[in-house]
Symmetry: C2
Subunit: 229 residues, 2 copies
Amino acid sequence: MTELLWGKEPARTRGPKPAITLTAIAETGIAIADTEGLDAVSMQRIAGELPVTKMALYRYVPGKTELVAVMSDLAVGSPPDRADLPWREALRIWAIDLYDAFTRHPWLLQSTIGRRLLGPNELAWMERGVAALTGTGLSGGEQLDSILVITSHVRNIAQQSTTFPGHTTGLTEEDWQQSLAEILATEAARFPHLTTAMRTSAGSENQGLEFGLARILDGLELLISDRTG
Amino acid sequence: MTELLWGKEPARTRGPKPAITLTAIAETGIAIADTEGLDAVSMQRIAGELPVTKMALYRYVPGKTELVAVMSDLAVGSPPDRADLPWREALRIWAIDLYDAFTRHPWLLQSTIGRRLLGPNELAWMERGVAALTGTGLSGGEQLDSILVITSHVRNIAQQSTTFPGHTTGLTEEDWQQSLAEILATEAARFPHLTTAMRTSAGSENQGLEFGLARILDGLELLISDRTG
DNA sequence: CATTACTGTGTCCGGCGGACACAGTTACTC
DNA sequence: GAGTAACTGTGTCCGCCGGACACAGTAATG
């Protein structure tokens, strides 16, 4: 598994040449997941778009779990190379880049959750985030915790704003808003603060990413100035 | 669907009495999910623990998606009733209560993602969070964004720290740490900052919730004092 | 008593991940 | 060159999943 993600394949000698490659499998899976959602990715489905049968895929990958891991690391890609910036601006752009990655491949939100084996690209993202915080006086643990908070925020904003193709609860933004409005209309008495908050916020949209990011970075700045000053 | 979650069932008249109840179904599902993970929850499995067959369940619930929604709202439960506190302490305790709920039912992290229909309990949590921020000078949209940031943080910390029973990548915390350490050992050159951050943070554990929470609340406090002062 | 509305059951379907035995292909070794 | 070992792709089979559907049994209404 680690070998798969990190590309340590043993040199092959005898036997027929493989008809396809692991990368081709992963790319096919990514294409399907992008257009039809992660649930549409099955061994059958992938094999159908390649000149092999389903079972041949198991010569390249031990199981579906590992395939999704390879797909995920390939899809996140390398973090964009940004010029040296002060930590705050560096982290802000880093967060937006990450958001873009999740927007390009919404299924990453499903596939990259919980404890899992990390691939080189995912680690590269972490590396870049931590790198932005070196020299700020924060401890290693604090640096890791900081980029974790930012990652969490980016993930959940992306989750809220992107429409999942083919996912079970395929609600459009409008449908969702409306059903929520209906509920709040009939149950306004039980949720007074929520109702007024929703009503006064109607119309202003998609500020969530910048808003939360600004709060988190403000909080970090406070801590950093405590440490350095 | 909305009717199911909000308990608006039409009065039944003729015909045999139902052998079970929707609540019993949901509770059975919750018990299974708690002990064996959400993936272990299937119609067969639930019916096996109740005096009915699989297909009888469809008399109570339209499909599995809706069942999981009912399970989720039942499992989050009502937010604990806390005394009136200043907004910062109120939100802090609110976040910890939420974390506890996710810890009690780790599968909620899987089932309550993305746009979905919200049940009364979930809305009650939101209501309480927003309520803590009324009177701080924040706009409705800002209040909602604020509790969203906190929720994101709580979720991802819970995701990282809890072990998913029966989930695909059933790695223990130690196994995960070790495999990551091995990778970093062999690839240290590619991830220098990450390597040192990891090394210096070894040992200090589980500060993630409090750390991120403190940063976010600090950032909110800054904004609020801007608004009020 | 007949009708009507309702509940639970059994059977069937397509699709899923995956185990396994098998046939075909290629390169190394004698 | 012949044999063999290593490797690749195929077809078949299994258990499980969510769910459609027809059907039989049951309870209240007329």
